[in-house]
């Protein structure tokens, strides 16, 4: 679905991404992990064409990404940003309807078909009760669910998430990731996400890309990537790694001084 070759990007002559090659297959879920400043978010921006490349080449669905117009790109790629939705005077349904923008053509108002899809999506995410509620009256977790509905109603083939769970309570974190996982299986959607939490990445992703100072340090299945020496080399800590008791995927445990 997406192939990147020799990506390079600098800000003010400071290299942030140095020579990254990767390939993402349809229907997989991929996590990008790494410490602060390792270039996770920048890599994500490059891969969806939000930032211009200094060097390298990205092909999407077999064509150079640059050949897609903004609107065409939005027909295939949906983005759920980290910060969620701002507090603005729009109702929940108005926000979700915005997700149809790339598919709506030049019409000012949505067609009946579009409206049905919006209603279905709101139903699926249990937002129907909030239809006429203003965003200003909702909590952060609820707003993130609205943002997810808006992104999903775009019907993207690739969903890109930039730390989608950072500001959320556990319950919301899991409900969003579960929903995405379900869509991945049902609709063969591809997921690409930057995650801060290594354990969540191991639980929800088929493949993990571990970045260190703008380069791919390790890439592969959670079992291949999440190993003590890799974590030590990239994060500078020595965790305990134990297999998840029911899922079998590796999970890390931190070694602190406190508690003996």
């Amino acid at each position: 679905m997406l192939v990147a070759k020799g990506l390079q990007k600098s800000y003010d002559h400071l290299p942030v991404i140095k020579n990254v090659n990767l390939s993402i297959d349809v229907g997989k879920s991929i996590a990008i992990i790494g410490p602060n400043g390792s270039g996770k978010s920048t890599l994500l921006k490059l891969l969806i064409g939000e930032e211009r490349l200094d060097r390298g080449m990205i092909s999407f669905l077999g064509e150079p990404l640059t050949r897609f117009s903004h609107k065409e790109r939005a027909k295939y790629i949906g983005v759920l940003p980290q910060t969620g939705l701002p507090e603005i005077l729009f109702t929940v349904s108005e926000i979700v309807e915005m997700g149809r923008y790339p598919l709506q053509g030049n019409k000012l108002w949505l067609s009946a078909d579009d409206k049905n899809r919006v209603a279905d999506m709101m139903d699926e995410l249990e937002l129907t009760a909030f239809t006429h509620r203003f965003l200003t009256e909702m909590s952060g977790g609820e707003r993130q669910r609205v943002a997810l509905a808006k992104t999903m109603v775009q019907e993207p083939k690739l969903i890109v998430l930039d730390e989608p769970t950072t500001y959320l309570d556990l319950q919301y974190q899991l409900s969003i990731l579960d929903k995405l996982h379900q869509w991945k299986n049902q609709r063969n959607t591809t997921l690409l996400m930057v995650l801060h939490d290594i354990n969540l990445a191991a639980l929800y992703c088929d493949e993990i890309i571990m970045l260190k100072k703008g380069e791919i340090y390790q890439q592969g299945s959670p079992n291949d990537v999440i190993q003590t020496d890799h974590i030590k080399a990239v994060y500078g800590i020595e965790p305990l790694i134990i297999a998840h008791p029911t899922k079998g995927v590796p999970q890390i445990f931190l070694n602190g001084y406190a508690g003996g």
């Binding site: 903004h70 790629i77 940003p81 939705l85 005077l89 915005m98 923008y101 775009q154």
Partner: protein, 332 residues
Amino acid sequence: MIVLLFSISFTVSSGSADVAFHTVWQVIGFEIWGDVRTGIEVDEAISAIIWQIRLPRVLLAALVGASLALAGVIYQGLLKNPLADPFVLGVSSGAALGAAMAIWIGWGINWLGQWHVPTYAFVGACLALLMVLKLGQGPYIKSESFILAGVVIQAFLGAVLTFVLSVTPENLFRRIQFWLMGSLSFRNWEHLFVLSIVLCIGFIVALIYSRELNLFLLGTRSAAHLGVSVNTIYWGLLLLASVITGAAVAVSGTIGFVGLAIPHMIRLVTGADHRKLIPLATLSGAIFLVWCDYIARTVLSPIEIPLGVITAFFGAPFFAFLLKKRQDRLSA
């Protein structure tokens, strides 16, 4: 729309000489279609009052009000700042300085004629805007930097204006001051014509991009993720709103609070959806200014209160109310 039509006919019919409602429409019919087809006979003096003086003035009030409200909606949408109004980017200061220069220097009055002051004002508005955009420009679109740039340019132009005022002779000084306070008198059909074209084009373009304006409220990044060509449309709309403001200010002087208060008021009723906000605010702006102008010329008749005074008189308390409500909500 009906309210607007009613407001226009009412305010045209009353004034220092009251004219009956139906006479107003008779005169309009007479002037448009002539007496042969309508068979109407009207008093020439009344006809002159209505057709030459009152109607152009009331229509101009409607057009200026609509333009300022429309520009206000666009600015507030783009800059995501409740304080944004048609004058936030220094457009009015530029226009004011331009007008003052026109009256002070007087150059070009022979061949520009009645367009003398408006032309200077419009050029001034455009120059101010260019400076603000240049100053506020960065690698990313940040609304704060435009607003800050606007403040800086306004302060600078304000100082230049004060200088100009201090060196102009007494008789010109009064003319400048009257212009600065905003006035719709001494305008005629040509002014109306030009402004209505600008307003119509502006309105249609704004409506076409109303969905993009909605998406900008999510943040420019989110708008880009949904497929909006952010740079082109953002700058295009910013320029559009400024041209609308410039055109309005050029014929009427600075009339504050319309572009600030009207969009806020309508937003409280309809929410932030620009597809509804743009038509409703434009219409309400027209109605509001028609009435303000009516008050301005009738309350102390025959003395005319500057229009800017009336709009501020109603607008400022309203704005204070908004501010208070906002603070109450924040502290709640």
